[in-house]
């Protein structure tokens, strides 16, 4: 349930400063909803993390996890809030990554600053979201899923085959790394391959994103999404422009993905089309939000962390564990079997089982949103306006 007793914010003319204050006060109010203490402690811990743990590879893992969380939060807007199954989410990720890689690298010898493109690529991805969404969002849910899947297959192939612009299969190498310019006596700082500054960037982006998403969820737009998800005909008759509203969900979701894409290519120094396949991104992010609980920010974050840990740590380490276990047990019949390789090869299988299992046993996910929970247990009226209108 959303909060229904917000105190009025200090009202003044909507200057930029006031807007920022507005954001801030909303964020603090979001914290205030529960007890804000655990969140602040968590945030402080996260800020202090690089000082506590000096191992750069751990920081690297943490920032990578952060990127996945960002992706999951974005898809959650589309699937969790607006109820649109987007199977081509990776396409927007790719668009974000490539827009940065093409506009800030030696590829065309254009070097637009990272900070600008971090925002701009979100807009570019959103633009593509609108271009794809505008004609397709009036389709029924399952058609939309397949159209986005098709789009998700097209985009990496276009990047792969337009070698003149994108470096083809080899991708673009030598993407500019972010740096903080010399201003006000600050000596300037190049990120290079040090994961720590990236970690802070993604942390900041995440904190801001979460605040924005909380705002969104409790706004006019958030209510409209919920309404459309529940009953599109009633929503339309109540005065919600369903197409525009769905489009906004699509575009906002895409912009998060574009965001993550730019960040990703800057961090990795290289983009290649392989990184954006259905199997590598779209499905993984979907599993994250399905597992964690569609529509619930905490759930989505937890789901993202679990799946990230599973695919980047457990499945990578498991062969080693199993092999050492195997040699320590030393059973003759096990000697010929390479358990480790089986463990590593079972990623698809595990993902499949998670998706099917969750939908059958706990469709609301591990940490569901209250609304989604009942909804998935009891079902909603699922009838698009387009159906009702025949083939209008």
């Amino acid at each position: 349930m959303t909060a229904r007793s917000q105190k009025p914010a200090p009202s003044s003319s909507p200057s930029v400063a006031a807007r920022i204050r507005g954001t801030w006060s909303a964020g603090t109010r979001a914290f205030a909803r529960g007890s804000r203490v655990p969140y602040i402690v968590l945030l402080l811990l996260l800020v202090a993390f690089p000082f506590i743990d000096g191992n750069q590879s751990h920081i690297g893992i943490a920032q990578d996890a952060g990127r996945w969380i960002l992706l999951a939060l974005g898809l959650n807007i589309v699937v969790g809030y607006a109820g649109l199954l987007d199977l081509g989410y990776a396409a927007f990720f790719a668009i974000g990554a490539y827009s940065y890689a093409m506009l800030a690298s030696g590829q065309f010898n254009v070097h637009v600053p990272f900070w600008f493109l971090l925002l701009a690529s979100a807009f570019i991805a959103a633009l593509f979201g609108v271009i794809l969404g505008a004609p397709t969002l009036r389709l029924r849910g399952d058609y939309l899923a397949i159209v986005t899947l098709g789009f998700g297959e097209i985009v990496p192939r276009v990047f792969r085959n337009s070698s003149k612009f994108t470096g083809g299969v080899n991708g673009i190498v030598g993407v500019d790394q972010p740096f903080i310019p010399k201003v006000f006596g600050f000596p300037g700082y190049h990120f290079l391959f040090n994961p720590v500054p990236y970690y802070y960037v993604i942390l900041a982006v995440l904190v801001i994103s979460i605040l924005l998403i909380i705002n969104l969820r409790n706004s006019r737009l958030g209510r409209a999404w919920m309404a459309i998800r529940e009953d599109e005909v009633a929503a339309a008759s109540t005065g919600i422009n369903t197409v525009t509203t769905k489009l906004l969900a699509f575009a906002l979701g895409a912009s998060f993905s574009g965001f993550a894409g730019t960040y990703y290519s800057a961090y990795l120094f290289v983009v290649t089309p392989e990184a954006f396949s259905f199997q590598a991104v779209s499905i993984v992010v979907l599993i994250m939000i399905v597992l964690g609980g569609m529509g619930n920010i905490t759930g989505v974050i937890v789901g993202a962390l679990i799946i990230y840990a599973l695919q980047s740590y457990v499945l990578v380490q498991l062969p080693g564990w199993l092999n050492s276990l195997q040699s320590s047990i030393n059973l003759p019949f096990l000697q010929g079997v390479d358990l480790g390789s089986y463990a590593q090869d079972s990623k698809y299988l595990i993902f499949g089982i998670i998706l099917v299992g969750i939908m059958l046993l706990r469709p609301q996910g591990l940490i569901p949103s209250a609304q989604r929970k009942v909804e998935l247990e009891l079902g909603t009226q699922d009838e698009a306006v387009a159906d009702l209108r025949g083939s209008a």
Partner: protein, 288 residues
């Protein structure tokens, strides 16, 4: 007092079935106007056409003297390409004497114009709170843009507050203020009907269309409903309802139109309609 809603020769064909045939209606400002008729007479189809869920096969619908499907509105609601196509088709049709191109505004645009409706089978947002349901109703009267929502600008915050207050007022008006935090689906049936009316009122309509508001009500609830409808009307909202319960219809409506087989067979004040032999026949059948 003028005419709020007017239909001119509106027809709707589904495949081989002519569901509504050349129906002319006039709903006057401030009245309670009822549409009755046996099952399958085309009443809900009429409603759906007015509300923009169906596109009429032919005919025109006017709201406060202006066509509900003006090309200009169309531009705003459809892609320019499609609107361009319709504009040309409209010109051609008029030129050939077929009358204007029947265009449908999308439902939300109709609501924005000032026509709100309820549904025969209640269509609330079951998993949203009662208050949120009403606030969704106010959606089309709100101005917060995406960035307002994202950044929670003072403008959005104050609007949100205003909308919430109004929603609470409306809930009080229909007598549901106690349940504002409850999921809509947890309300008893009768309350759900009232909530649907409150949600429709939230869009600030000039015309409220009620599709069988008394269905499934016991006599006591019906009495309360009649009171509510009259209160709404006294606030200057015109009421257009479909109802099967003749007691209710006869009691509250100023004028009644009767549809049968998609055609208008009678129109007039309750007494006149009740004694119209065609109406009696439509309902009870010709004695064998």
């Amino acid at each position: 007092m003028g005419t709020v809603l007017e239909t001119r020769g509106v027809s709707k064909r589904f495949g081989g079935l002519l569901a509504v045939n050349e129906v002319d209606l006039q709903v006057e400002e401030g009245e309670i106007f009822a549409m009755i008729g046996p099952n399958g007479a085309g009443k809900t189809t009429m409603f759906n056409m007015i509300a923009g869920l169906y596109k009429p096969t032919s005919g025109q619908i006017l709201f406060r003297g202006k066509s509900i499907y003006p090309i200009r509105e169309f531009w705003r609601n459809y892609t320019p390409l499609l609107a361009g196509y319709y504009a040309v088709a409209d010109r051609v049709r008029r030129g050939l004497g077929f009358g204007p191109m029947p265009l449908a505004l999308r439902p939300h645009a109709v609501t924005t114009l000032g026509i709100a409706r309820t549904f025969q089978n209640i269509r609330l947002f079951s998993f949203m709170s009662v208050l949120e349901n009403v606030m969704v109703g106010e959606h089309c009267r709100m101005h917060a843009q995406v960035y307002d929502s994202l950044l929670r600008t003072p403008r959005a915050v104050s609007e949100e507050r205003r909308v919430q207050e109004r929603a609470r007022d409306l809930l009080k008006f229909v007598g549901l203020e106690r349940y504002s935090e409850e999921y809509a689906r947890n309300l008893p049936y009768g309350h759900q009907r009232r909530l649907e009316i409150a949600r429709a009122l939230a869009s600030g309509p000039r015309l409220l269309m009620l599709d069988e508001p008394a269905a499934g009500f016991n006599p006591q609830e019906k009495v309360e409903l009649i009171q509510l409808i009259q209160q709404i009307r006294s606030q200057g909202v015109t009421i257009f309802l479909i109802e099967h319960d003749m007691k209710v219809v006869m009691e509250i409506s100023q004028r009644i139109v009767v549809l049968d087989y998609g055609e208008k067979i009678a129109e007039g004040p309750p007494e006149q309609v009740r004694n119209d032999p065609r109406v009696v026949e439509a309902y009870l059948g010709k004695p064998a």
